[in-house]
Symmetry: C2
Subunit: 214 residues, 2 copies
């Protein structure tokens, strides 16, 4: 079971690392971080680089493809090398997945046409423009295509996938070992729950958000 995590300039770190941390604990899983070229890939905030151990050309048949989001998704969704790799990998993958605006990259590759999918709450309209059918759910399964909402939702996606792949006990084991018993001190994690003035402000800043925060 090979899991390939795609990196590109200005990805959002938790989008990749959240589901990676859980999925990679599946017994027998081999995870590889890939990018157009192997080496250091700098994130959206500029303060952290992750290392892609292998170039895309060397990892063409992963069982699971994971595409994180981030402001750099705007470039990645137009990068033919990345899109070609996604189409090739998807041809034989068991699961093709994304977190946050990673779904825009999948959609850019033509993989979500007419499919139910999701993305960061500020990018749902973009996802529709690209031919998918956005839903308000946190994790969306449509056949082998699994998309998660913003940033932290990839952790929930990973638990769903672990259950489908390894069974309930495997997923529960990983949840226990990563102590994923969320207790946020606020209840502001979605536009339905956050204070209305904060939601309104960020909707108004969407252009800025899409370069800085998505």
């Amino acid at each position: 079971m090979q899991i390939a995590v795609l990196l590109y300039d200005r990805f959002t770190t938790l989008d990749a690392v959240g589901p990676y941390e859980l999925l990679a604990r599946l017994p027998g899983a081999e995870t590889v971080f890939v990018a157009k070229e192997a080496g250091q890939i700098r994130n959206d905030q500029g303060s952290l680089a992750l290392v892609a151990d292998r170039p895309l050309a060397q990892v063409t048949r992963p069982d699971i493809v994971l595409v994180p989001g981030g402001p750099g998704s705007r470039q990645a969704m137009r990068d033919e090398t990345i899109l070609d790799w996604l189409r090739t990998a998807d041809a034989t993958s068991t699961w093709t997945t994304s977190v946050c605006t990673g779904s825009l990259v999948l959609a850019g590759a033509g993989l979500l046409k007419g499919r139910r999918a999701t993305t960061h709450w500020l990018s749902l309209d973009d996802l529709r423009t690209l031919g998918a059918e956005p839903t308000g759910e946190r994790v969306v399964f449509d056949g082998k295509y699994v998309t998660a909402a913003g940033v932290s939702s990839g952790i929930d996606m990973a638990l769903h996938l672990l259950g489908r792949i390894g069974g309930d006990a495997a997923a529960q084991t990983v949840q226990l070992l990563t102590e994923y018993d969320p207790q946020p001190p606020y209840d502001a994690g979605s536009p339905e729950k956050a204070p209305a003035e904060i939601v309104a402000y960020w909707r108004g800043q969407a252009d800025k958000v899409l370069t800085v925060q998505d």
Copy 2:
């Protein structure tokens, strides 16, 4: 506001990246990943390296110190260079924090003596042995010392800290933008909630867990 995230060989990635992703979004925050020497630091699973942009010697007065856990904490807690750096940084820090077995490293530096603190549920006894007073809470504040339980709990710790530092609206904004509205499909994230047979198995495997999973 400078945030220093300590890396060392065989750290657990989400311990560092979870709180980083949220804390670094605080307006005016500057985050730097540090290690004994600058360069690539490989994680516990072996499949990912993060880049420490600066060596410890160059970052001596951070406002926030964040120490992740991981199997490598067993070496880090005995590494005098790391312990000296922690004591120096702690002398002027506003907040000294850890996730998972990162608290064992803080305790190894003598910073948690007699303090209420926490760690991964399988390491609570070790924390007591090192002179702290472990609690069963997910996030523990004792003055400026803030410790979180296993792996994913650092995200909750970050939200608490954001509230203390920037106020409720700042924390809620970050929660909304990272869409932290947890919806795990299982309720197995603590030893009190997970199926008893899974908890018993891992308690029995604690020695193995402490090299592989903590």
